[in-house]
Symmetry: C2
Subunit: 313 residues, 2 copies
Amino acid sequence: MKLNPQEILETHKRILPYVHNTPMLTSQTINSQSGAQVFFKCENFQKMGAFKMRGAVNAILQLSDEERKRGVVTHSSGNFAQALSLAAKSLNVPAFVVMPNTAPQVKKDAVKGYGGEIIECPPTLTDREHAANQIVLDKGATFLHPSNNWDVILGQGTAALELLSEIADLDYILTPVGGGGLVAGTILATLSKNPSCRVIGAEPSEADDAYRSLISGEIETNTSTYTIADGLKTQLGSLNFPVIRDHIDAIIRVEETEIIAAMQLIWERMKIIVEPSAATTLAVLLKEKERFANKKIGIILSGGNVDLKKLPF
Amino acid sequence: MKLNPQEILETHKRILPYVHNTPMLTSQTINSQSGAQVFFKCENFQKMGAFKMRGAVNAILQLSDEERKRGVVTHSSGNFAQALSLAAKSLNVPAFVVMPNTAPQVKKDAVKGYGGEIIECPPTLTDREHAANQIVLDKGATFLHPSNNWDVILGQGTAALELLSEIADLDYILTPVGGGGLVAGTILATLSKNPSCRVIGAEPSEADDAYRSLISGEIETNTSTYTIADGLKTQLGSLNFPVIRDHIDAIIRVEETEIIAAMQLIWERMKIIVEPSAATTLAVLLKEKERFANKKIGIILSGGNVDLKKLPF
């Protein structure tokens, strides 16, 4: 486990020429509604619109020149597909993205727009893994997992690192929990910068695999994922789960109506666009006001990629 | 005419405890699409979501203690109604807002939420003026016009002043043109900080009274106002028109489809919420790329108050 506190500081230096040190915003309305002092780290303003850019850049920068020439491959239909495409383009590296043939055209277009080459496959995990392996074999490309990869995890943690550099004495940091890369990276950042800052994961009740994993002590999966937070349907991985299990303060589940209400509050009051996955954090804060009363809370607004034609309000 | 350059600097000092010095944002996508270097002044992040807060605060601060006790009154169904209500509340002053009885409930609720007292009247200009005069007579309240009032104009100009303090060598500043308060205030700011910076007004073709006023030399009105930019339906006033006439570089008209496309570009790429009136500025920039090529452009994103249930895309 890469728990050397120096590691994430070096990661931050490495990626900073290629990512934004995103702004931090506050809202008097949300402070007074929640009873806490909240600092929003705006990864929706990150390049390609999500924190995933950080991990993708870091993972590519850790490859040798020879590996970079042969390219990188991942399977994702979400933000990591776009992140890897843009990060690879910024670094002059070929990027191959395995996507289910059922993926929306808007997501395919986004990947193409950032210069990624799409390989379509049937929409099952086995098919995706098979297609990705084939690219590794055919092209010699390096497979980069969206969340279960140390360099990706360290990259994702730099968002919290920047937040802790601005507000050193945060009591809590809230992040969404999907594949576990962001929350594990955030934990590494707190261990490096402020070990007394607790990390809490926000998860939809409709895809509460991480919550159940903490209880059972094993990586659980979802049998159904009927959540609007489409970035949070994936399961934890073998690398990030132990970090989460050993260091997280809690995983708190929220309902779909709570996610949508929190998202609307951010849009209407903060005038910024965040995706449903990002809003799970504020939903947790508003759901458990007593826990967070009078505390200093960092919230990672993970991304802002939404289809404006399909809004829940 | 209050063209003493010192005046707007003093205005800025006066209001700063009560308003936000809003952030400035940039977008690589919009820079490369426009061929210009663009600096967005985010008045959508201003208190109550629009620059109008600046003028309202300044106008109230210029009243005597005796006047403040008796309160302020305006007629508006838009952002100035909310701005005056919140500014008055911040300064412990009663605020009376005359609104047409046809105004949407959401706007009435916003005014009430900020503590303003609503007086409803039939939806004609004569009725509105009559109702406002009655409040002046009955309560001794001071009437504050939303745009044709020197203290309001100077207040609105402080947004451009802040922008010029960050980027001194702007070639142009683009603002929407509605009642003329923002554009006249912006002109005063450039005359004070950088007289070679040209000011351009953005106006919907569907409500192009200001454009026609520049041609005729007199204040023109609109016979119809079928524009989505609902903040820009009002006409210029006797105080701000001469400033605009004598100093503006141009007023450029844009079509409804151009306003909506610019609004969508800002939402999708900058991940911030702006109202249609604010997007007219970017629509002008994208419409006349040759004029602005390789120039440094300031854009006042005037506000972010939209009904999320009634979006044009």
